[in-house]
Symmetry: C2
Subunit: 446 residues, 2 copies
């Protein structure tokens, strides 16, 4: 199904594949809007200074410059222009620039292409689409939004034909507080090594914690024990307490994570887990951290990640805290198309193909089509009066379910190409079955 | 309304403005899909070689290159990457690459950002959105599609809140045939000078035709007379014949343009004019040429242009003729927002704001909201139980029409903020009036 991209890392879809992607995008948009998120679109271009503010991924950024006219963009010139590599940095700039025009807490979704000059590989692209939701406050942002965003995302992902998934949630305050309570002051160092757990295993991580972070064997064991905890309810709280560590920040983190998971147990059962092994992202998020895997396809990596920033953006003395998540749409769509698990029922929006008995009948056929369209039925008129068999084949090849015939006496008939059934029909009143109105997108016949 | 872009030529909209743009995009998509056009999205990036194939606008192209890593993109390296400046060049490449997977004639719409490194000015941007429709054939493409596309575009533009417009149509065969019939072999030279008519006037164009193209006074007068012809019906045919010029190609052009305008008189009255002054585009299109102006705002320039290419693309000995049009969405939206002629009824999708009597009521409030959402009603829950007056103000500020209250006894009431009317309501059955369900976008109160 998914063909090789003609430019590595820059995938493009065939029309029937694009219908699958559009279905994903439409479903996300609908869910976000039902939850009151408004849309924002930012320019594709930011200044290099803006993009590299956090200063770590400069090699992934694509600079842009007018051919033959300008100095080419470099990382040295903060005013040079470059393509955004995510939607968070542009959104933070947008919030600061437009703070006077926005109402806070401000909820927005944003669905756009982003670009990264990384080496392309399975599930990684140089151009891809992200779908982000964030809520940003002015000065403060109630913790309830951390809970709500987990629920919105669980609902949005549940509406997609992606099978089972787990939204894994952790909290930086919980981990940091635990390490501090243990007596490990270099919390960033602990996190950096805990993050390697899945890759190198507990023994090697323990050695690193002892050698690099200066932990005792007991401290290292405790930190590793914390990272083993994974529960689908709030029982993680007792498991953490059983480790016997105490710290004010730990209590705060336990309460926050408990609130997210407690509410999720009730409102999105089986979708959200407290996973205390998650360290990735804990270095830049300040509280809640989310990541999401497809059950049975964990190696695809996270399809939706995010968290809480105490300071998404600042403007003078004003601080804008935020919480949000980003869905990797292209990664999801690429997987669906690659394994053929999701397909569209036809390759065109057309529901009815209006045939021509002769070339002079084109205008009348357009009248028929216009009547259908006025009732929301996609209709297309043949461009020349070839043999009916050929006209039917034209429709069939595209998966168009119905062909329309106007007889010499002005009466009409419509044929269901799939069943062969042909019946009298009135263009002012006939409708296809609701499931034939538009292309259906779903999991392939099981 | 429209604020100054923080980066000149790269406009961004506020949430309520973006609702206007989304309305335009949704309306176009709906019209195109009702006419059987499927969606295609191509990558933002092409090779420089692909983009500069026609070789004339290289200075407008933005090259891209990874900061610090690659040689910067230049016009000299055909394999360097650059951002597309329109959607036609990428579509032609897409057709060639995927010819084996597409069914011809292939109808597609494409709505994407494009980039041009031009100096920004009124109605001209460096990043802007185009909405294109094209039909492309394999080897041949019936002329009926030239007629159909004029009708589809007239219908699409009529569905937008842009007021009256004129789709001006001309035909290269008509103009070229006329010049050849006159005895002027340098038809490109004649067209180039006729194109200056509006800017420098008939007298100066006549001088240029004589001096540069070698026309006699009579030939120049006849070419100018042709360019004066503009009719809303097929009477242009008689007016051309009255000039007494004969040529086979002229006849072909008259028949083609007559077919477009004749059908438009019937199906899109008042929208389409035969305008024989149009020379722009005649150098690269091979038959029909379209451009579109807003009545009363002609100085904005064309908001929708296109035409017929006998060879949109080639693959070996295979030729793909096409006919299509491109709508300048950003130019239209920028005008609507700039003069405040079109607005959204609120700045968020939310129809109902569910208030909290106390902080423990959040989960129950989410139950109410979930019931509303399950019936397609956008609902948002307050994040903390502030005073009701403050919660109502929160909703009012965003233009949310309704606030919801759950009483201590478990009964519900909903208040229309605008009228102040408050009534008992059941979250399982209550609905807002259809016009309050989603933000309305339309011309400002008249």
């Amino acid at each position: 199904m998914a063909r090789k991209a003609s430019l590595s890392g820059f995938p493009e879809w065939l029309p029937n594949e694009r219908l699958v992607e559009l279905h994903i995008l439409d479903t996300l948009r609908r869910t976000f809007e039902l939850h009151g998120f408004g849309n924002v679109e930012t320019r594709a271009v930011e200044t290099v200074g803006q993009l590299l503010r956090k200063g770590e991924i400069d090699k992934e950024v694509y600079g842009i410059s007018r051919l033959q006219a300008d100095e080419p963009a470099t990382g040295d010139d903060p005013n040079a222009l470059a393509l955004h590599f995510d939607l968070t940095v542009p959104f933070a700039r947008y919030v600061v620039e437009n703070a006077g025009h926005l109402s806070f807490p401000f909820r927005r979704y944003q669905i756009q292409k982003v670009w990264r000059g990384e080496r392309p590989q399975e599930g990684r692209f140089r151009e891809f689409t992200q779908a982000d939701i964030d809520v940003v406050g002015d000065g403060k942002l109630p913790f309830k939004y951390d809970v709500e965003l987990a629920l919105v995302i669980a609902e949005a992902l549940s509406a997609l034909p992606i099978g089972d998934f787990k939204l894994r949630v952790n909290n930086r305050k919980l981990a940091e507080g635990f390490y501090l309570g243990l007596g490990l002051a270099d919390t960033a160092g602990v996190l950096r090594n805990i993050d390697k757990l899945e890759k190198i295993g507990a023994d090697k991580v323990k050695t690193l914690l002892i050698d690099e972070v200066g932990a005792t064997g007991e401290q290292a064991d405790a930190a590793l024990a914390l990272a083993q905890i994974r529960t689908e309810d709030t029982s993680f709280v007792d498991q953490v307490r059983a480790l016997g560590v105490e710290h004010e920040l730990l209590e705060e983190g336990l309460a926050e994570l408990g609130e997210v998971v407690g509410m999720a147990v009730r409102r999105a059962p089986g979708r959200v887990v407290a996973d205390l092994s998650i360290a990735r992202g804990l270095d830049y998020y300040t509280g809640t951290v989310y990541e999401t895997v497809l059950v049975g396809d964990e190696k695809l990596g996270s399809i939706c990640s995010g968290g809480r920033y105490e300071s998404l953006a600042t403007k003078g003395s004003r601080t804008f805290p935020g919480v949000g998540l980003s869905i990797g749409v292209t990664r999801l769509v690429s997987r669906m198309l690659g394994d053929g698990s999701v397909t569209a029922s036809r390759s065109v929006p057309t529901a009815v193909y209006v045939t021509l008995a002769n070339d002079d009948a084109w205008a009348e056929a357009q009248d028929v089509a216009a009547q259908l369209r006025s009732r929301g039925i996609s209709a297309e008129v043949a461009s020349s009066a070839e043999k009916f068999g050929k006209q039917i084949k034209f429709a069939d090849k595209r998966g168009i379910p119905f062909v329309w015939f106007t007889q010499a006496d002005g009466t009409h008939e419509v044929k269901d190409i799939r069943s062969g059934e042909q019946v009298a029909a009135d263009p002012a009143t006939w409708s296809p079955a609701p499931e034939d109105l538009t292309p259906r997108v779903g999991t392939a016949a099981v």
